[in-house]
């Protein structure tokens, strides 16, 4: 085992040795290690390179706060960049690679940036590569390559993710002493309590501080508490779960890392899960994070947070170095001395910037170690990691420290005080106050149903954390409606006398080239902040964006406050005057896979299949996406080309008989004694006069006067109508009608029900369609007398009750047959069998489209939200009297003036295909800009006319029939001469459909 690990101590399972690889080299650790503790135990100091200067970086923290020790974890499709080694639980076969360095982490050519760093101040890239602006794209490529972090996998993610919705009375975020104490109290009331914690086992600082609770060792209390809670049926613990965002009305969203601690998810297991937790009350016990002190070269491997050094010693029995110096401005770091001693490391000195003495407990912890008061670490020395530190004294505030001596050491344990983790409180729009006694922002005014406790609330004494947690537990349960009846015993800890901390936002400058890092992830130094200030970036938000302070994956957890305070110093202002940047979700990076959950690829939106879908598949239909629907495009026969199949199906309808699936049409049942009156107001045409058993084509407008949708509706009885809508507008039309029925005219008695899914539909069309229909519904049942054009009858096919409508959109004699969905295939097959005599054949969407263009029937391409009823030739349908939706604005001058684009037909004069979407121009353009008079909306080859035809919206089009214009498609460079004609090419007089 590595030379930096003690043979005993910690909470490791030493019987289980785990092998892993870092940068190709084999190492081993124990069950219970993180990648960080295992690397440190193996003496690996340089883990990565920094963002901008490519300086060597090692492990700095112990958990979520880690700014610089990030790796690319796993390989291949599961490779994940920028993973904090401090949060990776070691598993057998783990593979990690350092990132942002080449050829290797110890010899990185990019480090030339470090040598050139005097030339690379804040904003360097912006300033240098600004001109000419057009070249930025060129420079950017190289800059992005030189600066940055890891790269992501390029293969599809093989893992699954999920989302779950959770509900509880009290949600507690953080399982440190305050959170656990809150959980005990809240759960004892009977309230449903959920506790989330980002670590695998909770405990917070109790895992790295040697503390006493209830007169015994804190870890004994911790284990008992976890056991006790786990027995309570109303309590749920979610480990490895980070609450990353707080949203309205106590919705906390968390990421549960279900199987990230395993080599790969077990079969059927998700990798991660997003929890949307809706809680009546939230207790925020998210703790606090130690911050650094900016001093010379404080970014080197070997400079670590004092708390992290403590944690590695006590939890993992790892000595982060052999000769340590502790540099602090507060009492908490003194505990690191005893922790280091416990793993056999030497503490050469404690350098305390304060002149006054630390508290009693700190002095006890100091023991025999040397205390240097009123002094600072000026800078570290050493090439790739710390080899010595220079110590000095600051005579007056702001003066450069005077070097007193150099101490040889390989570890600097730094503590600049503690910053409460108040991100979620801030997400909840909570205002922050600056607490001078701890030099940190703490939660200000209360937010209803949100309780912040413990060190997140700026309370650093263990006894008080336990008390606050317990009180909040009782109070939150009470507010959620659970009165605690049993007396709750609050866990106790000894009250301590702690010396005041004294802020030390940076060690003053000693030499112009000595870098004092504020943000070691983004390579932001005190000099950068001074430069930004000199250049006028005096707002914290501007400072952040100009220098990139706190913008990385760690969001400046260990550094932000130092940056703000230094800006305050430069502005000669107090920290609260300068303010702080806004915290926004997520608290920690969340993978896109987890956010997407199952909603990706084919699951991104629902797929809708018609009741005849299986028949289409069995009969080799080419299925096409039409909105959310899968619809048959055509049914190719063996050896037939796509075009041949489409033209055959089209001709077959004109010459014989075809059948097509129109089940995707929207269908709405309109009932009530005012149903007719309601339709009268929804459609532009008349409905009260419609006879029972007859249907009518209807057009509806939006309230702004433009056409919304069309379809046929049938009067089934006095007070019941069967309405159809276009496929795409099935939902929107229902919602539109609900608005009017419920909010505009609530006095009308009308009830609307979507029956789109309950009814399948098929269109039977062609000269022999009546013969086929008569065969299945009874001789003469479909005669012109029994079933005239726009008539509707009830019938039975294969003993299935069906509705038969005499409607046609193809320009042929035609019918629509609507059938209860479950019997659709039976009826379809029955019709096909009966139609064999007339050579019936199915046709798809492509043929249907050609048929409707030939007939000049409008669809979504023409109903594009910019056309009026009159534009489309339906002006006379608009009833002159009475109100209907869109009537008033359809009458405004702009919608009725001359010069509007009108629906016309176009024919290609030189037989070349008409480009879809082409613009209509008056003369060949010769490649020059030309005035456009309209556009082609639909185009196809018409087998019936043996000609290229189309529909177009052209300015005053109905006045210029016979004129030649040009359909120009600048994208393809084609300009096709077209003749303007009436938009109906087939059966203009309606003889066929009425015959």
């Amino acid at each position: 085992m590595g030379a930096f690990r003690n043979s005993s101590g910690g909470t490791l399972d030493r019987t289980q040795r785990i092998r892993f690889r870092f940068d190709g080299k084999q190492y081993s650790g124990f069950q219970g290690d993180t990648l960080a503790s295992a690397l440190l135990a193996n003496g690996v100091r340089v883990v990565g390179r920094s963002f901008k200067y490519h300086r060597p970086r090692g492990v700095f923290g112990m958990g979520v706060e880690e700014p610089s020790a990030m790796v690319r974890l796993r390989t291949g499709a599961r490779a994940e960049p920028n993973v904090r080694v401090t949060e990776v639980e070691l598993f057998d076969g783990l593979e990690a690679h350092s990132q942002h360095c080449w050829p290797s982490v110890n010899f990185d050519l990019g480090a030339i940036a470090n040598v050139m760093s005097p030339l690379l101040p804040a904003g360097f890239y912006y300033k240098t590569f600004m001109w000419p602006a057009t070249k930025w794209m060129f420079y950017e490529h190289f800059i992005r390559k030189a600066a940055g972090l890891g790269s992501s996998a390029t293969e599809p993610d093989p893992d699954n993710y999920s989302r779950s919705y959770e509900f509880c009375d009290v949600l507690i975020v953080g399982a440190g002493p305050a959170g656990l104490s809150a959980a005990l109290s809240a759960a004892s009331s009977g309230a449903k309590v959920m506790l989330v914690d980002e670590t695998p086992d909770g405990g917070g600082r109790l895992r790295f501080d040697d503390e006493v609770i209830n007169d015994g060792p804190a870890d004994k209390w911790l284990n008992e508490t976890l056991r006790e809670l786990s027995k309570m049926p109303n309590f749920e613990f979610r480990f490895r779960t980070t609450a990353f965002g707080y949203y309205d009305q106590n919705m906390v969203v968390a990421l549960e890392r279900v199987s990230d601690h395993l080599p790969e998810p077990e079969p059927g297991q998700v990798r991660q899960r997003v929890l949307q937790i809706r809680a009546k009350q939230v207790v925020l016990a998210s703790g606090s994070i130690e911050r650094s002190i900016p001093f010379g070269y404080n970014d080197k491997p070997g400079v670590m947070l004092a708390s992290a050094v403590r944690g590695y010693a006590l939890k993992y029995a790892v000595a982060c170095g052999r000769r340590a110096v502790v540099f602090t401005n507060n009492d908490s770091a003194y505990a690191t001395v005893t922790a280091l001693h416990s793993v056999g490391a030497q503490v050469v000195a404690v350098v305390d910037s304060r002149t006054q003495s630390p508290g009693k407990r700190a002095l006890e912890q100091l023991g025999d170690a040397k205390l240097i008061q009123g002094s600072v670490v000026i800078k570290t020395k050493g090439l790739r990691s710390v080899q010595a530190v220079e110590i000095g004294q600051i005579a007056d505030e702001g003066d450069s420290p005077k070097k007193s001596h150099t101490i040889r050491c390989d570890l600097v344990c730094v503590s600049g005080g503690w910053t409460p983790t108040i991100h979620l409180f801030s997400h909840a729009q909570g205002k922050l106050n600056f607490d001078d006694s701890i030099s940190a922002f703490v939660p200000g005014a209360d937010i209803p149903a949100l309780h912040v406790v413990g060190s997140a609330n700026g309370e650093f004494s263990l006894a008080a954390c336990l008390r606050q947690g317990s009180d909040a537990g009782i109070e939150s349960a009470k507010q959620a409606g659970y009165e605690t009846t049993a007396s709750v015993s609050i866990p106790t800890a000894p009250e301590e006398s702690v010396g005041d901390m004294e802020p030390l936002w940076s060690v003053p400058r000693t030499g112009s080239r000595v870098k004092r890092f504020v943000d070691i992830q983004n390579d932001v130094t005190i000099d950068d902040i001074e430069l930004a200030h000199t250049e006028g970036f005096v707002s914290v938000e501007h400072l952040k964006r100009y220098t990139t302070l706190g913008m990385g994956t760690d969001q400046g957890r260990t550094s932000n406050i130092n940056g703000l305070a230094n800006l305050a110093r430069l502005r000669k202002a107090e920290v609260p005057e300068v303010g702080h940047t806004t915290f926004r979700p997520p608290y920690t990076p969340v993978s896109l896979g987890a956010l997407a959950g199952v909603d990706f690829s084919e699951h991104l939106s629902p797929v809708r299949r018609t009741p005849l879908h299986q028949w289409h598949e069995r009969n080799h239909a080419h299925l096409q996406n039409s909105g959310v629907w899968k619809r048959p495009a055509y049914y190719p026969r063996t050896g037939e080309s796509v075009q041949d199949a489409i033209l055959r199906e089209t001709r077959h309808v004109r010459e014989k008989v075809g059948i097509t699936d129109v089940s995707s049409l929207g269908k709405i049942d309109v009932q009530g004694r005012d149903a007719a009156e309601f339709l009268e107001r929804i459609y532009i045409n008349r409905w009260k006069s419609l006879q029972i058993g007859r249907c009518r084509y209807g057009l509806m407008l939006r309230e702004d006067g433009f056409v919304f949708d069309d379809g046929t509706s049938t009067r089934l009885s006095e007070n019941e109508f069967y309405m159809t809508t276009t496929t795409a507008n099935a939902g929107p039309v229902l919602e539109h009608m609900e608005i009017y029925a419920q909010t505009v005219w609530p006095e009308l008695h009308v009830h609307l029900t979507s029956i789109s899914d309950q009814w399948a539909g098929m269109a039977l069309a062609g000269p022999f369609s009546r013969n086929v229909l008569n065969t299945v519904i009874g001789e003469q049942a479909a005669s012109n007398e029994n079933l005239p054009y726009m008539g509707v009858i009830n019938a039975r096919i294969a003993d299935v009750p069906v509705l038969v409508f005499r409607v046609s959109f193809s320009g042929e004699l035609g019918y629509e047959i609507h059938i209860p969905s479950r019997q659709a295939e039976l009826v379809w097959e029955t019709i096909l069998a009966a139609g064999q005599e007339w050579e019936i054949a199915p046709y798809g969407l492509e043929a249907m489209t050609i048929l409707r263009i030939e007939k000049g029937h409008v669809v979504a391409a023409e109903l594009d939200g910019r056309t009026t009823a009159a534009d489309l030739g339906f002006g006379r349908m608009m009833k002159p009297d009475g109100d209907y939706v869109g009537k008033r604005l359809a009458e405004r001058s702009a919608l009725t003036a001359n010069g509007r684009k009108q629906l016309v037909g176009i024919k290609s004069i030189d037989s070349s295909p008409i480009p879809r979407g082409a613009q209509i121009i008056a003369e060949p353009s010769g490649g020059k800009p030309a005035q456009t008079f309209g556009q082609v909306t639909s185009a196809c080859f018409s087998p019936h006319l043996n000609q290229e035809i189309g529909l177009a919206l052209i300015k005053d089009g109905r006045l210029i029939y016979g004129k030649t214009m040009y359909a120009a498609s600048p994208l393809t460079g084609r300009e096709v001469p077209v003749e303007i004609v009436h938009h109906i090419f087939v059966d203009a007089e309606g003889e066929r459909v009425r015959g």
């Binding site: 949203y247 309205d248 009305q249 919705m251 949307q276 809706r278 729009q429 309230e703 702004d704 919602e735 609900e738 608005i739 419920q742 909010t743 505009v744 609530p746 109100d883 009537k887 008033r888 604005l889 405004r892």
Partner: protein
């Protein structure tokens, strides 16, 4: 995510609903002026603070109703069926 109190179904997640803006505007009569119609169709206030707005329980009972909501704090104050005076 907001919890919207449907007067018929109770509090439900915002994702079940469709939003439709100001519920205080009334559709004018045909005889009303162009500017009244223009305002009705095109112009809406965008207040910071309390606002009465239409919500539709699209993924539930499909009823439209009025919600009184603070657009600044996101506080939902009340909801009621669309009964007119």
């Amino acid at each position: 995510m907001l919890l919207i109190p449907c007067p018929w179904c109770g509090k439900r997640a915002q994702t079940e609903f469709t939003y439709r803006g100001d519920a205080t505007v009334e559709r004018p009569d045909l005889a009303d002026s162009d500017s009244q119609w223009y305002d009705y169709v095109y112009t809406r206030d965008n207040p910071r603070g309390e606002h009465t707005e239409w919500w539709h329980h699209t993924g539930g009972c499909r009823k439209w109703f009025k919600v009184r909501r603070n657009t600044w704090t996101h506080e939902v104050i009340s909801s009621e069926p669309p009964v007119r005076d």
